[in-house]
Symmetry: C2
Subunit: 464 residues, 2 copies
């Protein structure tokens, strides 16, 4: 250590010599105060159009179909347009902006591209608002750097392959946690993920493209930083994304499918539902304000449709059953309020799920996520269906069948838990077992789902 | 489709023309039968020395210190030596074989290196048994290819950075699941991970190097394939690794620290404990065959030491308390036997954890893992301490304090749960609160842990 010549640096009391201390930069030249290293100082509020104007008109549940992410694309197109002047919003993704159905953004911008082009190249320009390269690592790195220097962005990815950046995500989450402890650090825009092309719709890619576990990874990080949303339809996706794009210092994970699907909520209902993050869908249930016999809960677009289809079967065949339908958009509402800022109090949770009635929960991801979030709650009768690593190249509905999360299994689960369904229940179970056998034969022969599956729509009341 | 000229390929009944069908390869020339594509056909059993001969002599619990992974290094050295002729075992890792304390392997082999060398290069040769490059991706890819072509191997990694290959792991797990469904596919050697330099001992690296979540990721995959072991000391690590290296078609994750630490079990006791995978440590507890007042459970080397230290405090200050100590080596024992091949029946689980006594569980990883594995069990009084994303560059003991998993917090948790500890308990809590304050002051001044922490050893009975 003597080789550092401390006698030239410190006085006899061990204090740094004043002329050396004076060499350190001052004011904005200090490393932490330099706006290039404290990007929040450069942050300008994102201009966001009114998301309600992009709404799908939904006169009643399932009355119209739309591609959720496609609808979002129009909103994002105008986010890009409205921020052309500060030019501080970009979309990042591994070569999948079109495949993920966000193609409308190319009406106002292009892919950033500085090399030569050939005649059949599409959507390239040297100042594009979309950053694409088939490397999730590079997309994540680009976006993190973009956010850390005071801009805004969105990463869109196949759900399974966002796992490629698990480790990079961890470092950003840790950085946010430590930064929040430093009063001089200004907030930066949230790190927003849109995970689409998700586990339930890998019709042509199959088992290799199925991994909904990024949710598990994210919720292990500090609760103050992480948010997970699973909007069930396009209007909910608009509402959720509007919120995420305006937020600061979070990591927002939004999971939503890109395929055409029946739309559920009108814009006002969607906005209200997303603001609450979780709620009873009174229009779907039959409990009418009294304690239900069973709670059918759902989280995620595909599980929500299967739950609604299951409830429609129960309403027809078991009309005396009081069924409550609970939909979850904001996953962290399930955790206790002592654990997550979005968590429900025990009283609020019990008001939705009851203290002791059976809950049949259809979940987008690995079923244990729900158990991990709810193990402290009073109600121990939580039965979760979700992805359990069963899948192949098959029909959309068959994916739910392979994982026991389809409408028929959900009804059969309910009957198993509710002996009061009696002989009617036993008869219905037999019928649904036959349906599952028919399904197997039909898809083997035709390669597509049965008409009654493809054409299923909510048969009952118009939306209140 | 006409451009494929089907009339040249099929007869009038739509059958492939026999002369074309004959073109397909036969026997071993078929793609799936070719041994290069069905590596299990080339697999030769690994020669494994008797792991017991590498045992640390442990006359009584904590009587001697040793580095767990360093002890394992001698065993692995001889695995390499014994398989020199078939040359079918290699160790893979990101430049950390020495840092991870496996340096003894370099007594019999070197790093694979084919480029030029300079005089101060160490342990390089063109036919080395160790494959090193500072890229977890490349290590994982090398090892997977090595296994798929019928050889054996081990990946050693910093625990946090194995997350870099989350997505590659997923693909291998899915491959194993699908292969097991194909009768013609021969079994291959297991994919073995040794995760060391773990979350609790990042004394010089801090928060960025702390992520125990690979466990969470792994246990979401098919139960038939995945195994997770957390041996508490060197002899247990030897026993576990012997089992993993001999196994086929699994993914084995072994988590164990590399630092010098008090050794707990003699070789016979360790072998017996690891064969069971979970068990009561009667020598540590005070329940003596009766229903305990509290179960102190632990899984992982650092949590186990903290639990033993906590029990030693309780034995001194609350001598009337009946304490049971349960240690978990094989994590999947916690799951029901209906869910995982290693799972305990409810009766066996209840016999260890009781149906209703409080369980204070100190766990190596994220605490929710334990809740996710045990939510189906009768006993709802499970209180888990583990890593909750609190950490920095600090002392080893302080890491446990920051996450409320230290001996003092474990005792305080117990007192909070057991009102029968009465005024003695209240007084002890006050005392331990003072200890925690002393700890803070001491490490701030000295930069190392208090002598009573560093020098703590199990004070009571010799091992039975």
């Amino acid at each position: 250590m003597r080789s550092y010549k401390p006698e030239e640096l410190f006085d006899e009391h061990g204090r740094l010599l004043p002329e050396l201390a004076d060499l350190a930069p001052k004011g904005d030249r200090r490393m932490g105060a330099n706006p290039h290293a404290n990007g929040g100082r450069l942050l300008r509020e994102l201009n966001v159009p009114d998301y309600r104007t992009y709404a799908v008109n939904v006169p009643s549940p399932t009355a119209v179909d739309a591609g959720n992410v496609h609808v979002l694309g129009r909103f994002l197109r105008d986010v890009i347009k409205l921020n052309t002047d500060p030019r501080n919003f970009r979309i990042f993704g591994p070569d999948e902006t079109v495949s993920n159905r966000l193609e409308d953004v190319f009406k106002v911008t292009n892919r950033q591209w500085e090399a030569e082009t050939v005649p059949n190249d599409e959507f390239l320009m040297p100042s594009g608002g979309v950053m694409e390269v088939l490397s999730e690592h590079q997309c994540e790195g680009w976006l993190e750097g973009y956010l850390l220097t005071g801009r805004h962005g969105l990463f869109n990815s196949y759900e399974a392959f966002i796992r490629i950046v698990d480790s990079m995500f961890t470092q950003h989450a840790k950085w946010l946690k430590m930064s929040a402890e430093l009063p001089w650090r200004q907030k930066i825009a949230s790190l927003n993920y849109l995970l689409t092309s998700h586990v339930w719709r890998q019709d042509h890619n199959g088992f290799t493209h199925q991994d909904p576990g990024f949710i598990d990874h994210v919720i292990n990080k500090k609760a103050a930083m992480v948010r997970v949303y699973l909007p069930p339809d396009a209007n909910c996706l608009l509402s959720v994304m509007d919120h995420c794009l305006r937020s600061l210092n979070y990591i927002n994970v939004v999971v939503c499918g890109k395929h055409e699907a029946p739309q559920l909520l009108g814009m006002d209902a969607a906005a209200d539902h997303c603001a609450k993050g979780i709620g009873v869908w009174e229009w779907a249930g039959t409990d009418e304000g009294v304690e239900p016999d069973v709670v059918m809960a759902c989280c995620g677009d595909v599980p929500t449709l299967e739950t609604l289809a299951a409830v429609s079967i129960m309403r027809e065949h078991l009309p005396d059953l009081k069924v409550r339908v609970v939909n979850v958009v904001d996953l962290m509402r399930l955790e206790p309020d002592t654990e997550h800022p979005h968590g429900l109090s025990d009283a609020a949770y019990d008001a939705l799920f009851t203290k002791d009635k059976h809950v049949i929960f259809a979940f987008h991801g690995y079923p244990w996520v729900i158990h991990r979030l709810t193990y402290r709650r009073a109600n121990r009768n939580m039965h979760v269906r979700g992805y359990k690593e069963e899948g192949t190249i098959t029909t959309a509905f068959d994916m739910t069948v392979l994982n026991d999360m389809d409408r028929f299994h959900l009804v059969m689960d309910t009957i198993d838990r509710l002996p009061q369904t009696g002989t009617k229940g036993i008869e219905l179970k037999r019928l649904l077992g036959e349906k599952l056998a028919q399904h197997r034969l039909y898809i083997d022969e035709h390669g597509i789902d049965m008409p009654e599956i493809r054409d299923w729509r909510w048969p009952l009341l118009p939306q209140r």
